[in-house]
């Protein structure tokens, strides 16, 4: 019999499946109507969902608030752009990004994990700000303009190839990729290692007496989150054809936190829904006024005060109860 944590993760899977079906419908509709704009917007929402996923692993499961996850998202975007400008290979870009994220994430994690609580939040914030400033002023990385002219690539998926310029094709590639990241994260969190992270969040002080070195576990969580953020970021230049230092700015990190908190902390699937809803919301409100931040900020504050588990805090328990009833009868 599955335990409570496994069962709530299953409820997340149901919601993720719903999201996949809806996305496929969206893609089919987009392809049929010859749309480009909304497919690209949807693709971007999914890419930022990957970033939010990494924030949720840290905040929702390990209990670490990162205010600088844009550092790894931007790292992935820049690495991927640089690789693609040399050799237009999807897998080379992804491989380089993964390796880069492990290296930088280990260094960053070593620094950030010296401290905890608010200090962790501030140090991750500071690291990202400093790197953003350095990139912004580094000519070799295009300084404030970023890197432009990332070529369109053909993504080799073994049996067939998909062009990054194809709105529907690339949307499906990104959807698949983000769902794989989600599934990997969900798998990990259901292992003894993942449960150790959950234990850290619940009561860090008891964990050493269970025989674990907490620093190591937190570092591992940090590096995994860094890799997920970076791999998501690596998809960005393929979509837009450029990267800019804004990707590293606090607004990007802050957006990911808003996404997770409104979507549902500690549910994984909340990051995906949050990102899509927020993107949708921005484009709807944005068509009326350029001051969508006021509305988003107010919604976010409302979620912090009234819905500590976000949107999924309402939806997921309903699914969970249904699953339980199904299991019993």
């Amino acid at each position: 019999m599955a335990d409570a944590l496994t069962r709530s993760m299953r409820a997340s899977h149901v919601l993720a499946a719903v999201l996949v079906v809806a996305s496929l419908g969206f893609a089919a509709f987009g392809a049929a109507s010859g749309d480009t704009f909304y497919l690209r917007l949807g693709t971007e929402a999914l890419i930022f969902a990957g970033l939010a996923l990494s924030v949720d692993i840290l905040l929702g499961y390990t209990g670490l608030l990162s205010l600088g996850q844009a550092l790894y998202f931007g790292l992935g975007a820049y690495l991927s752009a640089l690789v693609l400008m040399v050799t237009p290979s999807f897998w080379a870009a992804m491989g380089a990004t993964a390796i880069g994220a492990v290296v930088v994430g280990t260094i960053g994690g070593f620094i950030a994990n010296r401290v905890r609580g608010v200090y962790f939040a501030l140090i991750t914030f500071g690291m990202a700000q400093v790197i953003a400033k350095v990139v912004y002023n580094t000519r070799a990385l295009g300084a404030s303009d970023g890197l432009i002219g990332v070529p369109v690539i053909d993504i080799n998926l073994g049996l067939f190839k998909i062009s990054s310029a194809s709105p529907v094709g690339f949307f499906l590639v990104v959807l698949t990729f983000i769902i794989i990241l989600y599934a990997l994260a969900a798998y990990l969190l259901d292992t003894p290692f993942g449960r150790l992270l959950i234990a850290l969040r619940a009561n860090e002080r008891r964990v050493p007496f269970l025989g674990y070195r907490t620093v190591t576990a937190r570092l591992a969580a940090y590096v995994i989150a860094a890799v997920i953020a970076a791999l998501s970021g690596a998809l960005y230049p393929m979509l837009r054809g450029f990267v800019s230092p804004e990707l590293l700015f606090f607004a990007t990190s802050g957006n990911a936190v808003i996404t997770v908190v409104t979507g549902g902390v500690g549910t994984l699937v909340g990051a995906l829904y949050g990102s899509i809803l927020l993107t949708l919301f921005k484009s709807v409100v944005g068509s009326y006024t350029e001051h969508h931040l006021i509305v988003i900020g107010l919604l976010f504050m409302g979620a912090v005060i009234f819905l500590p588990r976000g949107l999924m805090g309402i939806v997921r328990p309903v699914i969970e109860r249904r699953l339980n009833r199904g299991a019993k009868s």
């Binding site: 335990d3 409570a4 496994t6 292992t191 003894p192 449960r195 619940a202």
Partner: protein
Amino acid sequence: MSASVLEVRDLSVHFGGLRAVDNVSFAIARHRITTVIGPNGAGKSTLFNLISGAVRPRAGQVLIDGVDHTGEPPHRLQAAGLARSFQITNLFFELSVAENLRLAAQILEPMAMAWRPVAASRTALARVDELLERFGLTDKAPYPVGKLSHGEQRRLEVAVALACKPKVLLLDEPTQGMSHGDTEDTAKLIKSLSSDVTILLIEHDIGLVMSLSDHVIVMHQGQKLAEGTPAEVRGNPAVQTAYFGHA
């Protein structure tokens, strides 16, 4: 194999000018229940913190099975076979009773299992069932710890400490705040545990100490005042003035 599974030599720690634990030495024999008693502020909990690695001793040694483990962090001491419970319940309150035990038992699994789903951790799950049964918590398994009664939480605290199959189990006031009936049950439980683990206990209930312990250590103002069988300690005049005299 050394005769004493846990030995402490000249252990000391100071907080500011206060000698919280001052030159304490003792050895405890395998599969026995040894109890530390003493008035409040005698240094009992600090002694536990020193042995379990929560606080680094300033001087002295902690030996487990004759091997020096002085100053090691808690996770190393755990690997050496030492586990502890806490005076103030220190569990994962939002998580279920079963998950608390599973977390504590997952270290029994081989390293490779850390990357397989928890449902595949047979050894750990079997251990959870065994402990639930033994501690009478089977009915409570799916509930979050926060929903349990105080007595149940205290029992779980002991069960979680025991889950990793330690050689030495330090129990810091396991019956703290329990009703009389619960205390008696817990005492029986602890007695039954001593067949496969060596227990070092802090306890206030003198009646319980006398009936439960094989060996008693009396602490007073950070120092070891006396030790011996319950009868010997009870008969010791120094103990009577320092401790029982006030009782």
